[in-house]
């Protein structure tokens, strides 16, 4: 099945129980000579900061406000993302099992 990456960006994701997680903001990829594999999906407002390459600008502000939580990003490995309906992506796991990106 074909999915348009540019349209996936900004769609809301829910977990296996239907809880809201956030929006997909970025896709991690690995490439070799011929192919380009998706490794993980980054979800949450802070993934937007990653995508805008704005850490150097915003991290000091985040530190000053002591809001570490806001600045964390969910990283969902490709195995745990269900894209059968690209307009409404769902996780195959529960919100509690999510990992934060480093």
């Amino acid at each position: 099945m074909e999915v348009n990456v540019e349209l996936l960006i900004g769609t809301k994701v829910s977990d296996v129980n239907g809880n809201k997680i956030g929006r997909i903001e970025e896709l991690r990829y690995e490439r070799d000579d011929t192919s380009c594999r998706i490794e993980a999906y980054l979800i949450g407002a802070s993934a937007l900061i990653d995508r805008l390459s704005a850490w150097t600008l915003l991290r000091p502000i985040g530190r000053a406000l002591r809001t570490r939580k806001v600045l964390q990003v969910y990283e969902v490995p490709w195995q745990e993302m269900d894209l059968r309906d690209p307009k409404h992506p769902k996780l195959r796991i529960a919100k509690g099992d999510l990992r934060h990106a480093k």
């Binding site: 960006i9 805008l52 390459s53 704005a54 850490w55 150097t56 600008l57």
Partner: protein
């Protein structure tokens, strides 16, 4: 060192165009020296913004538009595109009208008659000329505007009261009008298309990292050049027009600016200065609009290529210049267009400056050359100011304009 012309030509588009000259003249005629601070503030902001655009281009080889499209994506780019292009188009109409006015006071033939020939000459220069020719030609012709400075000196201004006016103060009466002119002055000097033009110019002139110190000098010197001349217009107007109670609502009134200071040549120098300055500004804006589209959509672009080698880019400026002539032929008053476009520039300022703050702190584009805390503080202040301007510019236009 010849690169200084890029600074001067950018500065001409910022300060020595119909908008800045008429607002500076209006400010002087109505409030004397009192609004000098607004020009000084605009100049300082512009020095910082232009320096940053040049640095971004020299280090990352991306123009501001390139980087904006890449980081913020197509939808955001498109919103900015519509906002900036509409405003820049109105400014272009005003500049072509300014050339027409200059020719009108020299020959007595009304500006609508000049619209088509002027547009054709501007277009022809874009069509056949190279970037170097436009850059050097426009800045060389722009030197005529030094006559404003000469005129201001001849009127023996009081330097102490001029200096005192660098600190903002409120007038006794006409507060709305005062606010409106202050917003217009800042709007007329900090125009986003200047940043786009300057960074594209840096790419056309093939700058690299070694140009960083030169870029700083060019931005500082070029914008100061324009700022000082703009201040000279204000002073000349305060000393020559204010005593006669002339408020400068129309172009023929502005033409009297230098007749007291330079009795013999003042009138003609004013007309010629306006023609050359508006001509430079018109070229700069047409280029900026064409660059904006070409870079945003990833087309081939360079003023040095022949039109058939970058057809879409050439097509954009051809259409834009043609369209800009239409309102003038129909007799739309360029001064009115100028006034509206300046308020709109202020209103669209946040759209251009906010993404700029992000880009200038991007480690991928700029590495160790990204903004330090001084530059960031200045941009943050400009953003705050631009939001205030955006909110108050339209109401002020209705009350004070």
């Amino acid at each position: 060192m010849l690169q200084i012309t890029l600074g001067i030509v950018t500065s001409v588009g910022g300060f020595l165009e119909i908008g800045s000259v008429t607002t500076a003249a209006q400010a002087g005629a109505r409030f004397g020296y009192q609004l000098l601070w607004a020009i000084a503030l605009g100049t300082i902001c512009l020095i910082f913004l232009v320096e940053m655009s040049g640095r971004l281009a020299a280090v990352s080889k991306h123009t501001v538009v390139d980087a904006m499209r890449e980081r913020f994506g197509f939808p955001f780019f498109f919103i900015v595109c519509v906002g900036i292009v509409v405003v820049a188009f109105m400014v272009l109409v005003a500049e072509l009208g300014g050339i027409g006015f200059g020719l009108q006071i020299l020959t007595g033939i009304g500006f609508p008659w000049w619209a088509v020939p002027i547009s054709f000459v501007v277009w022809l220069l874009m069509w056949k000329g190279t970037f170097g020719l436009i850059e050097n030609g426009a800045s060389l012709l722009g030197l005529v505007t030094l006559s404003f400075l000469f005129a201001a000196f001849r009127l023996h201004p009081s330097w102490s009261s001029a200096g005192a006016a660098l600190i903002p103060s409120m007038p006794q009466s006409g507060k709305a009008q005062y606010g409106f002119i202050a917003v217009s002055i800042i709007g007329a000097s900090i125009s986003p298309y200047l940043m786009y033009f300057y960074s594209s110019g840096a790419i056309e002139d093939k700058w690299d990292r070694t140009y960083i110190p030169i870029n700083r000098f060019i931005a500082g010197f070029g914008m100061t050049f324009g700022g000082v001349l703009s201040i000279a217009v204000l002073i000349a107007s305060a000393l020559a027009l204010q005593p006669n109670g002339i408020l400068v609502d129309t172009f023929p009134q502005a033409a009297l600016l230098m007749t007291t200071a330079l009795p013999k040549w003042g009138f003609y120098l004013f007309a010629v200065s306006m023609i050359f300055a508006c001509f430079g500004a018109a070229l700069e804006i047409s280029l900026a609009i064409a660059y904006f589209f070409a870079q945003g959509f990833g087309w081939n672009w360079s003023e040095d290529l022949e039109p058939s080698k970058n057809a879409r880019y050439a097509f954009v400026y051809t259409i834009i210049i043609m369209l800009a002539a239409i309102p003038l032929v129909l007799g739309v008053d360029p001064i009115k267009v100028t006034v509206i476009s300046m308020a709109l520039t202020s209103a669209t300022l946040p759209l251009a400056i906010v993404p700029f703050l992000f880009l200038m702190n991007d480690p991928i584009y700029l590495g160790k050359y990204r903004n330090g805390w001084i530059s960031n503080t200045v941009v943050a202040i400009i953003i705050l100011m631009s939001f205030v301007l955006a909110v108050i510019s339209i109401p002020l236009q209705i009350i004070g304009g």
